[in-house]
Each structure stands twice: as C-alpha cells, then as structure tokens.
Amino acid sequence: MAKFIVKRVFYGLLTLFLIITATFFLIAGAPGDPIAAKVEQMPDRAQEVIRKKYGLDKPVVERYFIYMKNLITTGDFGESIIYTGKSANDVIKANAPISAKIGIIVLVLQVGIGIPLGLGTALGRGKMYDHMIRVGNVLCICTPSFVFAALLQYFLAFKLKLAPVFGWGQPKHYILPVLAYTIGGIAVYNKYMRGSTLSVINEDYIVTAKAKGCKKGRIVRKHILRNSMIPIVTMIGPAVAGIFGSSFVIERIFAIPGLGSYYVKAVSDNDYTMVLGITIFYAMLYVASLIIVDILYGIVDPRIKVAGTEK
C-alpha cells in the first residue's frame, strides 16, 4: 500500500509540474502584451520600470525558472498585473474559504442524498418510484445549474420572498446557491450509483450470497454496497477539488465573493499573472484530490490495497 501511495504521489507531482509548465507558457505566449494596456500612457522610462518589476524584460524561459523557484521556495503564486500590490496568495486566502464553505455543504448533500437514492432505485428497479425518480433525474441532469439558480431566484426569492435573491454574509445567503448547485449533482450521483448497483446485482457472487442464506438486507449491506461504491469513488475525487471553486457560475449569479467568481473576473480582466496563480492553485487541489481518490480506491478495492503491499 505504501509503495502504491508513493507511486501515485509521484505521478501526481509529475502531472502538476506539467500543468504548471503548460499553463505558464500558454499564458506567456498568449496574443497581445498583457502589460501594454496598463503602460500605454506612461513615458518609456516608467514602462521600463514596470516591465522590470514584473520581470517582463527577461526571456520567457528565464521568467519560468524564476517563477518556479519562487513557487517552490516561498509558495508565491505571483502578483496581479492589473491591481498593483495584490498577490494571488492574498486572493486565494481571502476567497477560497468562502467557496470551500459552500462546496463542502453541497458535496455532502449531493453524496448523502444521491447515493442512497441510487441504491434505492436500483433495488426497487422497475417499481413505480424507480420510474418516477428516473424521469425526474434525467430532467435534473439536463438542466444547467444556472437555470436552477434562475428558477430559485425568481420563485423562492422574488415571488415568495423566502430567501435573499443574492448577496453574502449571513446564513440565509447560503440557501439558494446551495440548492441550485446541489440538485444537478444529486441526479448525477443517483444515476451512476443506480447503474453501478444494477451491474453488481447481476453478479454471480450475489447469487452465491443468496445461496448461502443471506437475507436481502445483509446482501445489500455486505455484498452490494461496497462493490457498487468502487466506481463512485472515482467521481468523488474531482468533486472534492471542485469544492473550492468549480462553481464559478453559481458564485457569479449569487454575487458570492468566492474564488471561482474571482477567477472568472481575472480571466475577463486579462489579469494574466492572477489567472496563472489561481490556475496553479486549482491544479494543486485537483492533483491532491486525485491522490486521495487513489488511496480511497485502495481502501475500498482490496485488489489494489493488497497488490500494493505485495509488490
């Protein structure tokens, strides 16, 4: 197992390194001079100073090494070119926790509701409630979260005045974004869990368990659940990374000052260094979550756990 984890961590770091490098050169090679707009009005000397400050007078490769050195030694994600003095680290520190709060609540709700629902509909396959939930499920999967957000804003907030339309700061501000973000995810977990459970139910070892004299409840708990969870674990990993801000859309609609909305703003502002910094932060989370998934996978699936120790 230990060797298996080391291997996964190594692959993760390699992936991360490739992402950072690719992102850096992509952004450095982006059309247009990022600093041009800002310095257009300045005298040449002042331009020079600013270029020097951001290290833009040096060749790309050298800038890359400087950036990597700073990142590794001091954890410095870089400084905004648009807003002087504002570093990506500050932005992450200020905005990521807000995204995380919503993200964690949403993930817990999605998994907590979606998986039992998927298990239940699979076990009651062909029954009335299975059909009803399936149709509702397809509709939910086909509806983008911004549509849910709009519906909730219009009916719950605007017409019924049950919650604020948007804003941030008080507990009631969580209601709509969490709801809008959760619904689609429940449907997705439900769908995959249902499919996974159905395929496990048809496995020979379920017949073996029945032939042993296990009753239905025990078969579900001891034989179906763990095996049908294995493919679901892979989905939860990226979702964990998403906690911190793949919800750009929701954050923007509800004016939540999370990292996602800041990221989108940086992209629209062409704030290249900020985009680079936040992207790398996301990539780190992502890679970390992949490693966590691999470890979880090892725990759930003995083929990996044991094979890891033996080799």
Partner: protein
C-alpha cells in the same frame, strides 16, 4: 417389458420411419433480421426514446428553419418594442434592445448545436487516430499515448478550457478546439480496446501468422464493430458540449457579441430576470429540451444495442 401405455391402439402408419428432419433440426427461430434492423426494432419499442428522437428533429428543424418563418433579423433592434412579453408578432417576446427573441434563440441555437457537433467530430477524429495508433502499433507508442491520455484525462477540464480560450481568443474555433482537446480520451480508450479485441480474434491471428497485412483487416472490421458504441457516445457527448459552451458563455468566457448562443442569451437574460423573466426563460428551456432529447435518444440507443441491459 413393462409398458405403461394408455392407448395401444395407435395406427400402424404412425410408426413409419421418418428419420432426421433437416428443416426442424436446423431451425431458425425468428425471421432473420440484420443487426441494425433489429436495433431499430428495439429502439422503436422504447416510447421515450422515440419521443426524444422526434423532439431532437423538431428542435434542429426549428433552429434552422425558424427565422424563415419569423421573418426577422436577429441583430435588428427596434427601440419601440423593448422587453415585450411573447405575443402574436414576437413569438418569444423581445429583449431589452427590442430584438426578436425567437429569432435570436434560433440563431443562438445554431451556434450551440454547431459547437456540439463540431466538438464531437473533432473529439472523435483525435480520439480515433490516437486510439488506432496505440492499438495497432503497440509497444512504446501505445505506452506513450496511453500515459498521455491518462494525463489529459486527469486535467481539470473547465480550467483548461478557460485557459485555452483565453490564450487563443474567444472565437468559436477556440472554444471547439479547447473543449475537444480535453475530451478525446474516452474515444481513444474505446478505439484502442476494440482494436486489441479484434487482434485477439482467431482469424486475425491466423492472417498475421500467414504474413498478411493485419492492419487493413482490423481497420475494415473496426467500424462495424464500434458503430453502436460510437452512436451512443455521439448522442451523449453532443449535449455535454452544448452544456459546456453554455456555462462558458454564461460567465462571459464564451461566445462574444454580436455572435450569440443559448448560453450567451441566457447570460444576457439573467440581468433582467426579475421583471422580464421571459428573456431568460426561452434560451434556458431550449438548452434543457435539447439535452433532454439527446439523453433520451442516447439511453434508448444503448438499450437497443445491448438488450441484456434491459433486464
């Protein structure tokens, strides 16, 4: 001999020898249908899938033919008819600049659906080439491609798309390229898997033992073998890409004015949600209906291709 027969009075000619019945012993149970006729027969039985197909055709027809009937231009602004509710002249109403929403939804839909199709095509071309190369060449080529595929498959999708569109400029071309570059992995794995399976077949092994050019034989069998999976993948990935574009445009990172798409239209409608919800409603309902239709068709198709999955 103890014969416990009830009637011994059976006519003698009944005991005439007839021997093996060639027809009956080599019976064919059902009228023999070709594979695709059989798939179509099962697909037709699935009412929901058929409904999805009709809906899909209706949406595509509306989007491409609609403007002919409405007789309006999607860019034409008439300040005397701002924010009108749906009526006989403006079927879906008008927006805040007095443009006909029906015509705009049709134009936006063309772009959204076009992006869906283009991305799928590019995804399949890249995926098939990579998969075929990996499967046919094997060895280090296979290793390299599959490692690369694993790397790409592990990238945080939306973030990569954001970076790519940012650096390539926000054209349709950039959006299509960015979304297909991050999504070919599934197709690649599928094609490679099929080729490896074909390689194992006896007659291909025999052909290669005789020194025949097996690549040609494999490729000739590849398409008929994978047609089914490809069709399911196509119907499932088109709505995925429509969704992706909608999210990008919704947060302002996708299609830019004067061009438009369902996502961009919805994004514009968001601002007017409280007092003119119809501006947001129509592009949203089109996204939902389109993805819904594709999902139903895809589900029906995969059931029809693999009847075992039904029960």
């Amino acid at each position: 001999m103890d014969t416990a027969r009830t009637d011994m009075v059976v006519a003698d000619e009944m005991f005439q020898r007839v021997g093996i019945d060639e027809e009956l012993s080599e019976h064919l149970d059902k009228p023999s249908l070709t594979y695709w006729a059989d798939v179509w027969r099962r697909f037709r039985k699935d009412k929901l899938a058929l409904f999805g197909l009709v809906l899909m055709v209706a949406i595509i027809a509306t989007v491409f033919l609609g403007p002919l009937f409405s007789g309006k231009d999607y860019k034409y602004m008439d300040s005397s008819v701002k924010n009108l509710r749906p009526n006989a002249q403006y079927w879906f109403g008008t927006d805040d600049m007095g443009r006909d929403i029906f015509t705009r939804v049709c134009y936006g839909g063309r772009i959204s659906i076009l992006i869906g199709f283009l991305c799928t095509i590019v995804m399949f071309v890249i995926g098939s080439l990579m998969g075929a190369l990996a499967g046919l060449k094997g060895g280090w080529v296979d290793n390299l491609i599959m490692r690369f595929a694993e790397f790409v498959g592990n990238l945080p999708y939306l973030i990569i798309v954001v970076i790519l569109t940012m650096t390539m400029g926000r054209s349709i071309f950039a959006i299509v390229l960015a979304m297909s570059l991050t999504s070919w992995v599934g197709t690649c794995r599928m094609v490679r898997g099929q080729i490896l399976q074909l390689k194992e077949l006896d007659y291909i092994e025999a052909a290669s033992a005789l020194g025949a050019n097996t690549t040609r034989i494999i490729l000739r069998h590849l398409l008929p073998n994978t047609m089914g999976i490809i069709m399911v993948q196509v119907t499932m990935s088109i709505p995925g890409f429509i969704f992706g574009e909608a999210f990008l445009s919704y947060v302002g990172l996708g299609i830019r004015p004067p061009g438009t798409s369902w996502g961009a239209l919805a994004s514009a409608g968001q601002a007017r949600l409280m007092f003119h919800p119809h501006i947001l409603f129509f592009p949203c309902i089109m996204i939902v209906l389109t993805t819904f239709a594709f999902h139903l068709v895809g589900d029906g198709l995969s059931d029809a291709l693999d009847p075992k999955l039904r029960e």
